[in-house]
Symmetry: C2
Subunit: 139 residues, 2 copies
DNA sequence: AACAAGTTTGTAACGATTACAATCACTCGC
DNA sequence: GCGAGTGATTGTAATCGTTACAAACTTGTT
């Protein structure tokens, strides 16, 4: 599924900027923040504005093509993978890592009252990544 | 367990302000934000500063007496219940509700690489609470 | 009383995000 | 092709939660 197809599939009008942002997210699984995306695209789109990156990411999130992660209290991070998976953030180097989930377990785990309508689920882990853990142990 | 005891138990020196903040959190399970806490305590502690509320909550979080929730992208919310449970936020009225978890299921659910050291886990749900869901259906 | 260490306070700075108004790009009827 | 209309983009200014900082205050000690 290409970026243009994804946009069409959920009724978002394509524009060079929107395609560029979504393309970037689909090709980089690094959970970038707005500045990462802006810095990466700016060389190729010299007139691109940070505001457009913000607006586009909001639009894509509302359309369900992208998810916004609130795992990092400093700023939002974005992910074009909207299938169920968890995230781990390293409190030392701030890297965000995907954690696969055993799908069935989620229902077994949470006792959600039937009358509430869940629209999204996010599972976050915080701690030290292997590299930073190792570095900490040698200090 | 009283607020003063909790502070002592994890080596945080007590002060009237710290006790007041922790007391408030232990008595109100509403997941308040900084302004909620400040507004609630200010009548009784007229010299209390917002900065002190911020500082205290950071200290309490670092000491493990309190957890900081990043479920609401607008601002941090705080919870004196640090036992494992999930949170649901209503995207309409912003209420945060506790969701009990079946403890054992967490390990079964996430495939965490053994080399990473998890320090905290947060499971967030977003959607419409019963009241707002009902209101939405009648509109 | 003088001092040291730690805490609180008020204000200023910071930084991420949003609001807004002007400009731009594209489509459609002429 | 041409101009109006619609929506997208841009740059700047404003907002707002949070943090930095330095001065004033507390508390305990000599
Ligand atoms: Mn991911
Ligand atoms: Mn809670
Ligand atoms: Zn790391
Ligand atoms: Zn609600």
């Amino acid at each position: 599924m290409t970026a243009i197809e994804s946009l069409a599939a959920c009724g978002v009008k394509a524009s060079p900027q929107r395609v560029a942002v979504l393309d970037y997210l689909m090709e980089h699984h690094t959970h970038p923040n707005v500045d990462d995306i802006y810095a990466a695209l700016h060389p190729d789109y010299p007139t691109l504005s940070r505001t457009t990156v913000y607006n586009t990411l909001r639009l894509l999130t509302e359309s369900g093509v992208v998810q916004t992660l609130s795992i990092d209290e400093r700023n939002a991070h974005y992910d074009a993978d909207v299938t169920l998976h968890a995230h781990f953030i390293c409190t030392a180097c701030r890297t965000i890592i995907d954690i696969p989930l055993r799908e069935a377990a989620l229902d077994a785990m949470a006792e959600l009252p039937r009358e509430m309508q869940v629209e999204s689920t996010q599972l976050y882990f915080r701690g030290l990544c292997p590299a930073c853990k190792c570095r900490a142990e040698h200090a």
